[in-house]
């Protein structure tokens, strides 16, 4: 079982991202479970969501405490939430930021991960360019596909287009493709 925890702020689409990731995994014939950190949703409040991907039915209903991958939509959360709690030693980390790990002060985390298991990428800027709004989740899913290989870019794009119709879907898919390319090359 591969477990992903996503951290963001209310309104950034952190719950939608987990749901789309589960749809992408389902589309590849796998079992997937996505769920939010249950609570009253407020714009700007810290929010977490979860996604499990497995090759057999998923019965487990506990929150993800030792994730295989972390997707951080907003690095300002570092100050208020222990977003790195429980991440596995061979886990993956995707951070939406224009900064480096040193500038963010998270080298203790990134240095401990295997080479190639983390990416910092400007997902909000990519989203702004394509969608016209700084909603980073589609771009982060593209980067997730590139860095982890757990799901294919094609499945991610299909899930995005299934969730968002028409131009919004195409813009989000373009953001995911850009981030995928960035995730593969950086």
């Amino acid at each position: 079982m591969f477990e992903i925890r996503l951290h963001g702020r209310g309104g950034q689409g952190v719950v939608t991202a987990a749901e789309m990731l589960s749809v992408a995994a389902f589309d590849e014939g796998r079992h997937a479970q996505a769920f939010p950190s249950f609570g009253s949703e407020r714009m700007g409040a810290p929010v977490a969501s979860f996604c499990r991907i497995a090759d057999r039915p998923i019965r487990l209903r506990e929150p993800i405490v030792d994730p295989d991958a972390l997707i951080i939509q907003d690095p300002t959360l570092f100050h208020s939430v222990d977003v790195f709690a429980g991440v596995k030693p061979d886990g993956y980390l995707i951070v939406n930021t224009t900064k480096t790990p040193a500038e963010l002060g998270i080298t203790a985390i990134t240095d401990a991960l295997p080479p190639g298991h983390w990416r910092c990428l400007p997902a909000s800027e990519i989203a702004q360019r394509h969608i016209g709004r700084p909603l980073p989740n589609a771009a982060l899913l593209g980067a997730f596909a590139a860095v982890t290989g757990v799901v294919s870019l094609a499945s991610v794009l299909k899930a995005i287009r299934a969730r968002f119709a028409g131009r919004v879907g195409e813009a989000n898919a373009a953001a995911a493709q850009d981030a995928f390319a960035l995730g593969e090359t950086v």
């Binding site: 589960s22 997937a32 996505a34 009253s40 487990l60 209903r61």
Partner: protein, 425 residues
Amino acid sequence: MLRQIEGSQAMAEAIALCRPQVVCAYPITPQTHIVEGLGAMVKDGRLADCDYINVESEFGAMSVAIGASAGGVRAYTATASQGLLFMAEAVYNAAGLGLPIVMTLGNRAIGAPINIWNDHSDAMALKDAGWIQLFAETNQEAADLHIQAFRIAEELSCPAMVCVDGFILTHAFEQIDTPTQAQVDAFLPPFDPVQVLDPANPYSIGAMVGPEAFTEVKYLGHQKQIDALDVIPRVAAEFREVFGRDAGGLIRPYRTDDAETILVALGSVNGTIKDVVDAEREKGTRVGAISISSFRPFPLAELQSALSGASRVVCIEKSLAPGLGGALASNVRMAMRGLSAPVLTVIAGLGGRPITRAGIARVIAAAGEGALDDVTFLDLNRAAVEGQMMRAAGLTDTGPIAENLLKALNPGLVRRMTPKRRGME
């Protein structure tokens, strides 16, 4: 068709396939997505010949459902938590009048303190209102149980409540095999009411009944529930014939053969429990589990048979009966009459606290060592509780308990008040 969708959406679609003629609900989290989905389907015509009636409150919702059902149409509503309490009087009336309304309960805690998260306090508060109560373990089962609930309710003229863990199921995306209209039509015939308010043939229902017949009316309500013990497994078997999968029934034992410790629980936590049972079995621990699908009627005979070999029974329950322990355990104890194994209560998952594999494994270990009390609070923050008790001792004006605990857990976040000390007025 296999799809990856939200539980609430799957339930809304399953309910729509049951062709309800009146849907009336007042939105309350975590049930909101279900009734929003139904509202959208009525509006765009996917759910035809159905009135979606906006109501001013949960009391109105159940009252409209009662009126619709008494008028001879298939009626559905949904609620949760405080919403169920607000409609409580009408909930009892629906059962007393023998109206086969189906209601989703998106299980959620009851305040105070205010809490919107999952537990089973709401279902337990109205467990004796005369409704059939079915608990879903997965979102597949949550969708399927609604289809069964209309069959069971209408066959017995008794309302049925489908209890679905709020957020944990209602808001989870997972793989669900959504049925077709042809399948549901083959399984669920049109509603054929046994009593109808009809101006052409007028009579009243809900008459006042004095001491001379009240007991007899109540006895018949009890007998319906006893009859449901036969109807529920038969409907589940017929469901398997049409849909090709298991859902519902009375109880579902898991690896209970030769089990010394058997865990008993309601709803989605059974998934986590099964994972722990598998892990413990690998280590050689003789442990099994039983998921109770039908809490009302309560399957005494089936439970007694399934639990007869156990050395101890541990109920993992998401509600508290203050001053007693747990409603589930006290019910299970009745099923254990004549057997010597102790029935222990573990109160867990209150107000949305996660029930983890680690926590359940600790319960199994403690049970095996004979170290579980009659009532245990899983993962209780004893320091926080004792701190409040210490503060309260010797103070006259202790302030609100919930706020005090939050202050103790988050010292920087809440302004401290200065309490008055006893004898220093």
